[in-house]
C-alpha cells in the first residue's frame, strides 16, 4: 500500500452459491490513476464494483480505502425518480446550487427539458441526467459502471474528456465499459 493509494484490494474472492465469480484478485489504485475492469457479460464486473463500494461483502479478502474517502458511484441503474421532473431530480441529488450546474446543463443540452418528467425523457437524456452526479462530483474517487451506455457520440466525447481531466486533477477512477473509449487506464480482465 503506497502513500497516495486511494483503494487497495487484497486477494478478494467472491462466490455465489458455490460458483466462483472471481478468485484472489488484488489491485491498487493511486491518485490520478484509472482502472478499467473488463470481462464478458456476467463475469462479475458490477459485483466487483459493489464489493469495492462496500455494498457487497466479499467471500474472502479485504478492501482498504484511504481514510474518509468520498466516492461518487453510478451503476447500471440511474437512481433517478421517474415521476419527478429533471429539475426536481437535480434538487434531490442536491446539485441545485452547484455553481457549474448551468454550464453542464448547457453542455449536455438538457436545459430545454428541465420541466419534463424523467419518464418522458429519452433513454440517453436520462443517462445524461444521471451523469450530472458525476460531472458535478466533489469526491476523490469515481466508480462508474458502463457510463457510456446509450450516449450519442458528442456526449461520449464530453464524458471522456471530463474523466481524463479528472484524472489529471489527481482523482481516481474505476470503471467498466463494453464500448471502446479513449481514457488512459490500466485494465483488469475478469475471466470466468
Amino acid at each position: 500500500m503506497t502513500d497516495n493509494s486511494l483503494i487497495t484490494a487484497k486477494t478478494i474472492s467472491y462466490k455465489i452459491n458455490e460458483n466462483k465469480l472471481f478468485h484472489n484478485l488484488s489491485f491498487e489504485l493511486g491518485e490520478g490513476c484509472a482502472l478499467l475492469i473488463k470481462g464478458k457479460n456476467g463475469s462479475g464486473k458490477s459485483t466487483l464494483l459493489r464489493i469495492i463500494l462496500g455494498i457487497t461483502v466479499p467471500t474472502k479478502g479485504n478492501i482498504y480505502k484511504a481514510a474518509s474517502i468520498q466516492i461518487c458511484y453510478l451503476g447500471h441503474k440511474n437512481a433517478l425518480k421517474s415521476y419527478l421532473t429533471m429539475r426536481d431530480n437535480i434538487d434531490l441529488m442536491q446539485l441545485k446550487n452547484h455553481k457549474e450546474l448551468n454550464y453542464y446543463l448547457d453542455l449536455l443540452s438538457l436545459k430545454k427539458h428541465l420541466d419534463v418528467t424523467v419518464s418522458s425523457l429519452s433513454f440517453g437524456q436520462q443517462k445524461k441526467l444521471a451523469l450530472l452526479r458525476v460531472f458535478l462530483n466533489t469526491s476523490k474517487l469515481l466508480i462508474l459502471d458502463e457510463p457510456f451506455v446509450g450516449l450519442d457520440d458528442a456526449t461520449h466525447e464530453q464524458l471522456t474528456n471530463f474523466l481524463s481531466n479528472e484524472l489529471i486533477m489527481g482523482k481516481g477512477l474505476i470503471f467498466t465499459s463494453h464500448i471502446p473509449c479513449e481514457i488512459k487506464a490500466d485494465s483488469l480482465v475478469l475471466i470466468n
Partner: protein, 215 residues
Amino acid sequence: MEILKVEFLKLRKKTRIWLGPILVFWLIMIAYPLTVELLQDKLQIGFFSVLWIAILISMMLATEDIFTEDYNDGSLEQTIIQESSFSTNIGLKVFIYWFLTGIPVSILSFIFSFGTTQNFGLSLSIFPLALISSYIFLNLFVLGNSLSLNKGSVLGAIVTMPIALPVLIVLGKSITALQFDINFEGFILLLLGSLSIIIVLVPIVVSYIIRAHLE
C-alpha cells in the same frame, strides 16, 4: 438533516404517497354510514372498530412503497454508500411519513368521532390514541415491507399481522375504558411504552434487513 429535506421534496411531489392513505381513510369513514341502516345514535356501535381498521389500512397503504421504489431505481445504493447513519435515516423517514399521514389521519379521526358521537371529551381522547397507534402501525408495516422488499411475497403482511392484532385489541379495550371512564391513562401509557421501544428498534432492524437485501 439532509434526509428530511430530500424526503419532504419527494413527498411534496409525489403527493399520492401521503394524500392517498389519507383519502382512503376518509373514504372508509364515509363508506361506513352509507353501508349501515342505522339511526344516528346507533351509528357509534361499530364506529370505533371501523376507525381503528381504517387507521390500520391507511398506514399500510402509506408504507407500501417506502423502500421498494428506492430499491428498484438504485437510490438505496446511493444512500448506503454515503457514510451517514442509515438507521437514523430510516427512523427519520418513518417520522416524516407519520407526520404527513399519521397526524392528518388522527385529526380526521377526531373530527369523524365528534361527528358520529357528538361527544367532545370522548373524541378528544381519540386523538392521542390515533396518534400513537398510527405511529406504531407505521413502524410495523415498515418492518414488514423491508422484509418482503422486492420479493413479491406476502411475507411482509404475514409478519406484521401477529404484531398488529394485539395493538388493535388494546385500542378496542381503551374505548371501553374511555366510555366507562376506567383507567384510560393506563392504556395510553401502555401504548406509549410499546411505541418508544418500537421507535428505537425498528429502524435498526430494518437497516440490517435492507443491507442484506442489497448485498
